[in-house]
Assembly symmetry: C2
Homo-oligomer: 298 residues x 2
């Protein structure tokens, strides 16, 4: 078999990265029909359908190893060119670095970590957000280079480093406590009081309920998939919910929320998983993430 | 044709609402195979595939009208039962109300609107987040009852009410201004300075660039899909970006950010679109949303 065409591989990465043939055409400065032709040509060489033409476009099972190869090539190529030219990396234009992070990390410590990456590396961060129990899937798909994840076992081809735990406390507005929990966390009350859940993937509240009651309860649930809206909904008394301790502190301090069970917390251990690559940029990002996590997590 | 089975319709709504057959089985307290049987039975009656078995499961084109019917039936049925029993609505268990909201509204004024809905209506809010230019799609699909959207033309079967405009200002950290814009917003600098974009659907920054320069520029982009992380990335000097004025105020007041172009802003008019239904609950939610928007938007 001949070697693969790097332009076609880069086009594959752009289609999946942007989610559509039109988006890929825009970032590559070519026509959508040129994008189609390149993908079809690559699919003919490999003899497999590589892109699922859905909205957004996704790599098929056959497309995933090629997508990983494409993202890796782009990164390594840029660094090699920059080194050959004897200039800082940015001279070749910024490098896109796709990563996925859980919502609470992104809302608290992750951006300061990005800010620690030296500016001369000329990176464009392409951050995605997903539940920590699901971020490893995007790593497996080849869609991202690195992930903040709750998964401890390395994804194939990846390296794992522990970051520490994010600690959650159960918060509720004083009025909600007075209405539902005047006598503390009775099982009966926990089974009926409304609880706030981030989205359909979020299991943290149910983990807390299991820890407190030893049972699987099924209380009424509000879904509010936004970190600031989640805290606001608790302050408004809509429901109780688990909040990272760093975000809980001001609401506890000014009395707008109470700690439902002051002795108890839920710790979610987080890991940094990234592809095994000899890349100055990935090394710098890993150093930055570990340094910031060491300050922000337990 | 016989009438449709309401249990099967409710099962369809649960599969699409939860995104999977397993999730639907959990909320309906039946086995996944019972869920499969009901969906297959409904598909046989209608003679069409109604659910795309993807992750998450979605309604097919044929499934969309049935999904809308199912969600409407659930809502109307609960209200009729409550009225017949002469009790407040909550006695029949809380009613799930699926809505979709743009990220900046959700992070600022939307939760206080939800808190205005009378508690005796016993609602469980199922909030989704999407770009204001795309929220109307979920309304069209039948996945939500109501949406905060930038789309002014009514979706079929929906009613539209203007909410006012969300005003954005262009913010940057003082260090970023000093590096890229020492002489103001030159086209050359705007073409090269890094810009922050929420996600692939967000066009607000590019609208600002077009308004300032009259041209389509293509500067380096960081994607950061989280409202608090977006503001933090601007404060850290990673890039400039557009921020809702209400979130911009504290950063401008304490000097952590500067207004890139103090005379200029981007206004995004928002609308509340909801299905045409005789529902006390939907009326109460609409009143609450309009009242809060009147205070929070322009």
């Amino acid at each position: 078999m001949e070697g693969l065409d790097t332009t076609q591989l880069r086009t594959l990465a752009a289609v999946v990265g942007e989610g559509s043939f039109e988006g890929a055409a825009r970032v590559l400065h070519v026509t959508p029909s040129a994008v189609s032709q390149r993908i079809r040509a690559l699919e003919e060489v490999v003899g497999q359908v590589l892109v699922r033409r859905s909205r957004p476009c996704q790599a098929t099972d056959a497309g995933q190893p090629l997508l990983r190869l494409a993202v890796q090539l782009t990164l390594l190529e840029r660094e090699a060119v920059a080194e050959a030219r004897g200039v800082v990396d940015g001279a070749a234009g910024p490098t896109r670095v796709p990563v996925v992070v859980n919502a609470d990390s992104l809302a608290t410590w992750f951006v300061p970590a990005l800010a620690r990456v030296p500016a001369d590396l000329a990176v464009c961060f392409d951050v995605r957000q997903d539940d920590q129990d699901h971020t490893a899937e995007l790593l497996r798909d080849g869609a991202v280079l690195a992930a903040v994840t709750a998964q401890r076992e390395p994804v194939q081809g990846c390296r794992v480093r522990p970051l520490g735990a994010m600690r959650y406390r159960a918060l509720a507005a004083p009025a909600l406590v007075a209405r539902w929990f005047p006598d503390g966390l009775a099982v009966e009350a926990l089974a009926r009081a409304p609880v706030l859940v981030f989205d359909r993937k979020d299991r943290v509240q149910h983990r807390f309920l299991r820890a407190v009651t030893g049972r699987e309860l099924d209380p009424p649930v509000h879904h509010v998939p936004s970190v600031p809206a989640f805290s606001e909904a608790i302050r408004c008394g809509l429901a109780w919910g688990l909040v990272p301790e760093r975000l809980a502190e001001p609401d506890l301090a000014d009395g707008s929320c109470l700690d439902l069970d002051p002795g108890r917390h839920v710790d979610v251990p987080l890991y940094w998983q990234h592809w095994r690559l000899e890349s100055r940029l990935l090394d710098a990002l890993t150093d930055a993430v570990r340094a910031e996590a060491a300050v922000a997590l337990r």
